[in-house]
């Protein structure tokens, strides 16, 4: 189940970044990133099912890879256009609370 969720989310994000690529990663506002992540990804895309998806499901390297690469999956079209700065905030949130981060996110 978890794996599936991760795939969905990853896919979601990956799609997302096919649109806007190649911005400088990191140093954003993680707190705002959490808000934006919930707003853009959770609410518009995954509804209830992704409740368990947390930054701590992936390592920092994996989040970095996701945010630097592009691919497939039809989810991003449901997302509103997110400015680059917001994307970086989302990245900062996911990266800073990743499972191998100093402060892995707790559930919910």
């Amino acid at each position: 189940m978890n794996r599936k969720l991760i795939t969905i989310a990853a896919a979601c994000l990956i799609t997302f970044f096919t649109v806007s690529m190649a911005f400088a990663l990191g140093g954003g506002n993680g707190r705002k990133g959490k808000f934006l992540y919930r707003k853009n990804c959770y609410k518009t895309c995954h509804e209830e099912k992704v409740g368990g998806l947390s930054p701590a499901n992936k390592t920092q390297a994996e989040w970095t890879a996701i945010f630097s690469d592009t691919s497939k999956i039809p989810c991003h079209d449901k997302w509103p256009a997110v400015p680059e700065k917001d994307l970086n905030d989302i990245f900062t949130y996911l990266h800073d609370y990743a499972k191998d981060s100093p402060s892995p996110a707790k559930c919910s």
Binding site: N29, L36, R38, Y42, G51, G52, T59, K99, D100, C107
Partner: protein, 731 residues
């Protein structure tokens, strides 16, 4: 003999003489000869049995409440509850006197005198909630949302304090953890990538330092430790400046010099590496940094450690060999409360590193990873407050604070300095910083900084005593609680919940209802638009049938994998391995390997004050319990006979204990169960609140004396860094 008992005796005499005469006539036997064959059948008590989980400490042991006519008359262990091994300790049994404590808060109280003066006015819940909402709104307006602090203790409702804080707009939330366990968590997380459970039951050799498992009960570890020792021949070596009950029951005990545990641990590593006692294949495959560690510990010979910690070098070398011999079913017990020294994270890193060398991760008798419990989070979408400051008030003071726990001591300093910004509102639930945080006077200053303090608790704690608004909460036997996922080491991964066992007493309300009431008055009601049973349904959405089992057994077990969880998986560290050498520390300028620093020498004519527990105490919440009070009527100052002699102190003398921040009077307990350079007392006594009639003016408050040092890596409190003088009070 009093007049009253004479009357009683006479009454009994008349009653009894009649009975005996009858007996004599009927049976003929009298005076020692009257023998009945059989006791009369005992009537069965008409009680209801209801499941719950104990709340006298953090363990949440499964219990069955016996209820007669709506009153709990007995709390029994739930024998199906594997985490607590079907037991209930003294505090668990005494829970009944917490619920029915005559000192319990009964209705909302508004302060009408000065802070701490104890003048209160009874108000209605509507008035109370209106006022709380209005004051919180004012703080948010005048000082930004992050200008309000939220503190919640260990409780299943505490998550609603966090939820409220977030939707209100404040990230300044503290838990009890920075007064307790974050140094240990930091160290193990930064070594293994997660905080382990100790498989005590299956261990063959345990070194326990900085922990007192037979008195500071942790389930199932405390019980499993005894089973391991008596049934499986596990060996226990304890390091403690006090001869605790754990020390007394150990195979070996060493009164280690306080603050030198790291020297001992690094010497163990020195021997294990030097004599190649580790499993080379395992260490090669699973760990990172053996070479650097080997080089680093060369200097830490058993001889060096012996000079530091006072444990003979031969014993250190032998213990290292014995540990390695028993590995991987051997461990340095990780412990829990690690708020001891300014380098506690590094001290605990040295514990973690020896475990790494023992190759015990994810294996029977070693350290276990978190199992799947299956409970799900209940997400919500908090609003964004763009006007807020960017970070917590305690941010950037130490390099590795846990963002979601914060640091109480750093928060207090920042609040007092109003740096980097002001905090003027404080909401506190079921935690008692006035009794548990070092330097009580400073906590009072922090209170005085606040425009408005709201405390929700079941008792008039010292923290409530200094608040503006005090709201009576329900005890654990009176309310619905969310589900909680627990791991009982190798025993189980389980889910518990609480349903009301009795009707709420007085006007008490659950914290959830309080939050909901305030939220509704602040247009935040949408975030609390549910009931606890609805919330639990969401938590349990991926465990079909669990709710039914919970109702039947009082506990639900997830039969998830116990060992070998990491087979084919990476460790959650930078190197994806167990980090003997921590790469992130190196990047951040923190010692990547623990470097031993000699602890500050105890100054002449002074003592190091250490804290600790016994099985009848849960910090600031049990000293007013009438049942426990009978076994532990007060706290005392443990002082070694040689030290006592030097200061002309005899057992039972009243002494003054004095530090740079405060002084208290307490009775001396002269005992050889403590080192000469160390003194000790229990926490929770001598409350300022007069509405704790057994604890007020009784014994000494350790919070008044302890100074406020902290762990420079995590911001955890450093409770063993206070030096005190002890002077006999002349009668």
């Amino acid at each position: 003999m009093s007049e009253s008992s004479q009357k009683i005796s006479r009454r009994d005499f008349f009653k009894a003489s009649g009975l005996i005469a009858a007996g004599a006539v009927g049976g003929g036997a009298v005076l020692g000869g009257l023998r009945k064959a059989r006791a009369a059948a005992v009537p069965v008590k008409p009680w209801d049995s209801k499941f719950s989980a104990c709340d006298m400490c953090f363990n949440k042991c499964g219990l069955i409440a016996r209820v007669e006519d709506g009153v709990v008359t007995k709390l029994d262990p739930n024998s199906k509850f594997l985490k607590s091994r079907g037991m209930l300790c003294a505090r668990g049994n005494a829970g009944i006197d917490q619920v029915y404590d005559p000192d319990r808060l009964k209705y909302p109280l508004l302060r009408v005198g000065e802070r701490g003066e104890g003048k209160w006015k009874r108000i209605s819940w509507d008035e109370a909630l209106d006022l709380a909402a209005q004051k919180m709104e004012a703080v948010r307006k005048d000082y930004l949302p992050c200008g309000h602090l939220f503190s919640a203790g260990t409780d299943l409702h505490s998550q609603f304090v966090g939820r409220f804080a977030e939707v209100y707009g404040s990230f300044n939330v503290t838990s009890h953890e920075s007064l307790c366990l974050v140094s240990n968590n930091r160290a193990f997380l930064d070594t293994f990538g997660e905080v382990p459970f100790a498989d005590v039951l299956n261990s063959k050799y345990i070194v326990m330092a900085g922990a007192n498992r037979f008195e500071a009960l942790v389930t199932p570890d405390s019980i499993d430790l005894m089973t391991a020792m008596r049934e499986n021949g596990c060996k226990l070596v304890t390091l403690d400046p006090r001869y605790t009950k754990t020390a007394a029951l150990s195979d070996e005990w060493y009164p280690v010099k306080p603050g030198t545990d790291m020297a001992f641990m690094l010497a163990l590593a020195h021997v294990i590496i030097g004599e190649k006692l580790y499993d080379p294949q395992w260490v090669e495959e699973k760990t990172y940094g053996l070479e650097q560690l080997a080089e680093h510990v060369k200097q830490y010979t058993p001889g060096f450690a012996a000079d530091q910690c006072g444990i003979p070098a031969e014993a250190i070398a032998r213990i290292a060999r014995e540990l390695a011999e028993a590995a991987p079913a051997a461990m340095i017990y990780p412990g829990r409360r690690s708020s001891d020294y300014e380098d506690s994270t590094q001290i605990r890193r040295s514990f973690a590193i020896v475990n790494g060398l023992l190759g015990n991760w994810d294996r029977p008798g070693g350290l276990l990873a978190a199992r799947v419990v299956g409970l799900k989070g209940v997400p919500y979408e908090a609003p964004w407050y763009d006007e807020n400051h960017e970070d917590r008030i305690d941010a950037d003071k130490v390099p590795m604070m846990f963002e979601h726990e914060g640091s109480f001591l750093l928060t207090r300093d920042a609040v007092l300095a109003e740096d980097p910004y002001a905090i003027r509102g404080w909401f506190i639930y079921k935690t008692n910083p006035m009794a548990t945080v070092p330097n009580r006077k400073k906590t009072i200053e922090m209170m005085n900084k606040m425009d408005f303090v709201t405390v929700v608790d079941i008792a008039m704690s010292d923290t409530a005593w200094y608040a503006d608004l005090v709201l009576p909460s329900q005890s654990y036997l009176e309310r619905y609680d969310p589900c909680s996922g627990l791991q009982g080491s190798s025993a189980c991964a389980c889910v518990v919940k609480r349903d009301p066992v009795i009707e709420p007493l007085y006007e008490s309300r659950s914290l959830f209802d309080v939050m909901k009431g305030i939220a509704n008055r602040m247009e935040l009601g949408e975030y609390f638009d549910f009931t606890i049973p609805e919330y639990r349904e969401k938590q349990l959405r991926e465990l079909p049938g669990a709710e039914k089992i919970l109702d039947r057994d009082g506990v639900y077990y997830n039969p998830s994998k116990v060992y070998g969880i990491y087979d084919g998986r990476i460790y959650k560290t930078l190197s994806k391995k167990i980090e003997l050498y921590n790469q992130r520390y190196e990047q951040m300028g923190i010692d990547p390997l623990p470097v031993y620093t000699v602890p500050t020498k105890v100054p002449a004519n002074r003592f190091r004050l250490v804290v600790g527990r016994n099985a009848l105490v849960t910090q600031g919440s049990t000293a007013n319990n009438a049942l426990l009070h009978q076994l532990l009527p007060t706290n005392t100052l443990w002082i070694n006979p040689n030290a006592a002699k030097k200061f002309n102190i005899t057992d039972g003398d009243l002494v003054e204990v004095s530090s740079s921040v405060g002084r208290q009077e307490i009775k001396a307990e002269v005992t050889d169960r403590i080192r000469e350079d160390t003194v000790y007392m229990l926490s929770g006594f001598n409350t300022l609140s007069t509405r704790q009639h057994l604890a007020h003016g009784n014994g000494a408050s350790i919070a008044e004396i302890l100074e406020g040092g902290y762990d420079t890596v995590t911001g955890n409190a450093a409770l063993h860094t206070t030096f005190v003088t002890v002077t006999r009070k002349v009668a």
